[in-house]
Amino acid sequence: MRLAGFYLFAALVALLPVVFPDNYYVTVVGVTAFFNIMLAVGLNLLMGYAGQISLGHAAFFGIGAYVSAVTTVRYGWNPWVAMAAGLVLVWLIANLIARPILRLKGHYLAMATLGFGIIIHIVLVQADAFTGGPDGLSGIPGLVLFGWHVDSDLRWYVVAGAVMLLYVWLSLNIIDSREGRALRAVHGSEVAASTLGIDISGTKVRVFVLSALMASLTGSLFAHQQAFVSPDSFSFFFSIELVTMVVLGGLASTFGAVFGAVILTFLPEFLVVFEDFQMLIYGAILMLIMIFLPRGLFVTMADRIGPMFAGYFRQGIRET
């Protein structure tokens, strides 16, 4: 029963391209939504559950994407090796900065992660000998999975969808475990958590590194799917967009992050004004949610509707 929501979601993801084959919104925008979900789910572990804000999450996404792009385009590396190299690099960087950064709290943490994101963005723009500078890097090869070329929208839907579901599954598993409770305890009360034997900084570092690795892998997939990367995709604005996704759905809810990512992926597709006023709209969403629905849209709705189902399930259990 723990994973009922997950199976339902997985079934939906699997059925969509069957019901709507060759639909732009499913196999093209859908894949972007999957990438955003992957990033939001990872960020939610750090921000929603452990309560550590990051305004620089796009940086890890960018590092993963650029390591894949640069090593495959310029040095002809195998994409899988490139992906692993991205993970190793992100693992190193995340471990290096996590301890000093996560000692900070509140605004200070926000500023430090913001600074980190900006630095990485500048590196991507300035190191043009490798990264191609502001123009980006094109000609990134596609992925080949045991001889199976991931070369169509539908195939990318399958690959990204599978990895996305894996992320959701991992996140649900982590939250409902000793380590996941430790994360939430650190958020709830650091002093109580530490006197119960939880290593506060160790716990924060682990989840920071995990969410960075999740972003890096997403970045690598993104680079191969787009066949092109440019620094614009990994700017401070995208970090804010990710935070907005997590907050919109509801902090500390994996499906809240999924929901927020889906909404913010599809909204610009349907609202043309979005293009011009993107940042304004994100700002407004953040403010409105924080003021009126601090627990997020998804979580608030789920709490209203949930009890009806909960009653139903409880009855079911009693009868058997």
Binding site: I174, G180, G188, V191, A192, L196, G197
Partner: protein
């Protein structure tokens, strides 16, 4: 019975204020050791020093051969010290049972990866943790509330929840910071029984409490703190009759008989 905790020469100053001023005392194994004293005497500060939440300027805290000073709180906890807080520190983002399961943290060992992949070893540990947490809840008479959200509970119940959570760690020594503060008469009686019951299981209890009836009822030793120093210590009877204590703290009419 031997000594479990030896405190010697403990000093902690905040700016110019010596909140703890050269304290030395022993706590016997399996007994209820109470620390009383007026507001601002340094009782909570003492608990913070004993649990690693704060570091003393000088002095040592020895738990059965382990030096606790200099260890971060989670390592002190690993030595078998557990506590509750004067101002509640409940994990409001979790259910009651999850709060108590956090208390079992030190009794488990599974990490991030086994959790992510939900390995069989993790599932077995989860079941054990759940059983321990259920036991701790039942011990505190809260088994019906396992699935409740902590935000739905009354103050008195939250006080008990903190104790259940601390007990779930299976501590050798439990520090209770004003467990009866804010409780009504019935709840205070229940708390009194709970403390006795905890002590009967062999856990050494350090108690800070303003309710003298409760202190005199459950304690086997009372330590009177005044401006960070020891004013007197002894059995409850001795303390009740100590003229210095009566003058400085208890006053004429505190209801201790």
């Amino acid at each position: 019975m031997g000594v479990l905790l030896q405190v010697s020469g403990l000093v902690k100053a905040y700016g110019g204020v010596r909140a703890i001023n050269d304290l030395s005392f022993d706590v016997k194994k399996g007994k209820v050791f109470s620390v009383i004293g007026p507001n601002g005497a340094g009782k909570t500060t003492l608990f913070n020093l004993l649990t690693g939440v704060d570091t003393p300027d000088t002095g040592s805290v020895n738990l059965d051969g382990y030096e606790l000073v200099g260890r971060p709180p989670h390592r002190v906890a690993a030595c078998g010290v557990s506590r509750t807080f004067q101002n509640l520190q409940i994990f409001h983002n979790m259910t009651v049972i999850e709060n108590v399961m956090v208390g079992c943290h030190l009794r488990g060992c599974s990490g991030l990866w086994s959790a992510a992949l939900r390995l069989p070893s993790l599932l077995a540990e989860e079941r054990r943790i759940r059983t321990w947490a259920d036991e701790a809840l039942a011990f505190c008479g809260m088994e019906d509330l396992a699935q409740a959200r902590s935000s739905e509970l009354s103050y008195g119940v939250l006080k008990k929840l903190e104790i259940a959570r601390a007990l779930a760690a299976k501590p050798r020594m439990l520090l209770l910071d004003e467990p009866a503060a804010g409780l009504n008469d019935t709840e205070t009686l229940e708390m009194c029984e709970l403390i006795k019951k905890i002590s009967e299981t062999g856990v050494t209890v350090l108690l800070v409490e303003h309710n003298m009836g409760l202190v005199m009822d459950v304690s086997s030793w009372v330590f009177v703190l005044n401006y960070g120093s020891c004013l007197a210590q002894g059995t409850p009877r001795e303390i009740q009759r100590n003229p210095q204590v009566i003058a400085a703290y208890l006053g004429g009419e505190t209801g201790i008989e």
